[in-house]
Amino acid sequence: MKTGAAESRAELRGGGSAGRARFPAGQILMGAGLLAALLGAPASSMVRAGAGGVYEALPLDDDDEERLLRNVNAYEDLFVRRGYRYETSELDAFVGRVGAALTPRSTDPYIKYRFRILRDPQANAFALPDGQVYVNTGMLAGLENEAQLAALLAHEIQHTAGHHGLLSYRSARRKIITSMVLGPLTLGVGDVFLALSVAGYSRELESEADRLGLERMHAAGYDPRQMAALFELFGGDPEGESVQTSGSKWSTHPETLARVESARTQAARRLGGRPANLKVNAQGYRRLARQAGLDTVQDMIAADYPRAALGMARWLLSEDATDAGRHLAVADSYLALGARQAQVGDLSNKEKRANRWARYTHTREEREERRLGTEEGRKALRVNMDLARRSYLRALELNPNLPEARRGLGYALDGLDRPQDAGVHFVAYLKARPGAADRELVLDRMREINGKIKRGGKVR
């Protein structure tokens, strides 16, 4: 939804709050958003869209802009090289098809639309000036239907079609040069106004992308009311690390409530009380997004955002309680919670800052040790391990041939100080998966368990 990951994305329904540029591709995206995010200000001589959201061509000004476009183009390879592309799924082809249906005729030779998925649990999407449109798995996992995907892609397409990146670059270049000349005279005050204008103008562009994106999705046969529903998906801070800034003055997107309201009004106006035969496709989309959802849960766990993972896993489970894979995702999330509370409660900004700071200064082990040093942490560990145990057992009831559930059960039971029971499940896992990549890790845990049993571990 944003034109760069530096502009952090809000989270999906308790599912994606883990954070700003802290998730995997975040660092690259910071660079990828160079044009559109860092220099996120539109030119005053903006090329306005004509009827139906069609823009005029915008030829490149000079060699610098050509180089910039080549640089942007190179991100496509960089994402592949770093392993962030999510290429193997049916979902990949689906996103491409929905995107193609929304794509306008290209006005410039340097724009060639292509739609890609990045494996990143952060709920984010962005477009580059040469037509590359990226959607993260974390975003796809949280969308409710195909129409919301169309709304998202239509918004991003507008950024490219409207040349927002190039216009922003030109505007920022002028402002930077002006501030270099006038800076010493204005004693730096000019820089503040520059920053203000950059932040303010960018919101204008976002509103334009919302408005024209809604028109575009409706024209392609999608229900335009899903644009507002898409904006409502964002919010929440399950990890208790997102510090609230005062208001949305500095944010690059219009305030969410205003945005939702605006999209609702526009949709109502367009529909005129006749929402007949418009495409939403919730069931088909959610079936396709299942694997992206499960992968997102695992990626959130790997990135040490277990509360966000649990939120996403529970939501997936609420869709289909007979799916063993979804129970496994819930169980893995509880296991990853360790000595954390499942809910953070109401935290002050100071506490949130402290949480975030601890993540940067202390290793995961140190933070867990600190939690285990309190009675509250030890209690949370027991509760989480027991909830994990129950979910693993439920997964095994639904699908007894699920070695990963055996392994998880082993870890949960070991956490509950039941080494013998844990050992039984570890052995079952290792026999079912003799070539498992984590074999050595499980064998190490078995050695510890054998030691515990020898020292007189509890027998159930």
Binding site: D64, V80, T363, M446, N450
Partner: protein, 293 residues
């Protein structure tokens, strides 16, 4: 005699001290300007004395960042970073091999063969990035085995039958000659903006995924060299970084003796590690064992 005779000499010492400090400053400035290497190596004791020093290394292609110090950035830095990554990989692999280690480089094509492997490599890199900021701030704590890249590093080593994982990061900052000269004006002729390249290398063990060693160094260079001769710069940088890296045959006997004493104290757990844990567990759980209990 001594006191009275020495005293006048001491009275003359301020000039000598001043000369001494001027010489030190000149020498330091000279060293900095030539970009001489001050490579640093932080290693755990078992790594240093060879007991836990991996011989078969899996080298993940380094991640490089190329930053050009310009007001408006319009350069093709993504491709230039890619060139640095390729050259850094080649240089590190070749020089580790020269030191007697077996090095397996994981290529992008290999990584993309299966989604599972791609995901594993990405997670290892991401997790390493998470630890990297702490590692760079407090590298001395490598000796205490503070930093862990987690189970995914172990899985990756298991898949490639490697003893350890080598992960490197490169940062290059390019400053145009004009900007460097301008920054020198008003700064006593010493430019405050200079081009340099920095590299660090971590060795991660295959049993627990812990960082066993960390090597770091930088090289003063120029923007032209960074863009036109990445192989030369990366080769030199890799040589600097690996300077404190012991050869595969090197055994630090002093460290080994110290570690053996420590090991002797916890010798009882050593025997347990040798046995097959599954067989041992099954034996412990057998009815005979229970009856004996």
């Amino acid at each position: 005699m001594t006191r009275t005779q020495i005293a006048p000499t001491r009275q003359g010492s301020p000039r000598a001290a001043r000369t001494f400090w001027v010489l030190v400053l000149v020498a330091a400035a000279g060293l900095v300007s030539t970009g001489s290497a001050f490579a640093k190596g932080y290693m755990t004791v078992p790594f240093r004395y060879r007991k836990a020093r991996p011989v078969k290394l899996l080298l993940l292609p380094p991640h490089a960042e190329f930053i050009k110090n310009k007001v408006i950035m319009t350069e093709e830095m993504v491709n230039e970073s890619a060139a640095l990554e390729v050259e850094a990989t080649n240089a590190l692999a070749a020089q580790l091999q020269q030191r007697g280690y077996k090095v397996r480089v994981l290529t992008t094509a290999e990584m993309r063969k299966t989604a599972g492997l791609q995901q594993l490599v990405t997670r290892v890199n991401d997790r390493y990035n998470e630890e990297w900021s702490k590692l760079v701030n407090r590298p001395r704590q490598v000796k205490k085995r503070r930093y862990s890249v987690g189970p995914d590093a172990v899985k990756l080593c298991t898949l490639f039958k490697a003893d350890g994982l080598a992960v490197a990061r490169v940062q290059a900052v390019g400053v145009s000659a004009g900007k460097a000269i301008l920054s020198g004006i008003g700064n006593l002729g010493v430019p405050s903006h200079r081009s340099f390249a920095r590299m660090d290398l971590s060795i991660i063990d295959s049993r627990e995924g812990r960082v066993e060693a960390f090597f770091v160094d930088h090289e003063a260079t120029s923007l032209k060299q960074l863009t036109r001769k990445p192989a030369k710069i990366m080769g030199q940088l890799a040589a600097n970084v690996l300077d404190p890296y012991p050869a595969s045959t090197f055994e630090d006997l002093e460290a080994a003796r110290g570690a053996e004493v420590a090991e002797a104290k916890s010798d009882d757990s050593e025997g347990a590690e040798e046995a097959d844990p599954i067989a041992e567990f099954e034996a412990l759980m057998s009815p005979q064992q229970k009856a004996r209990k």
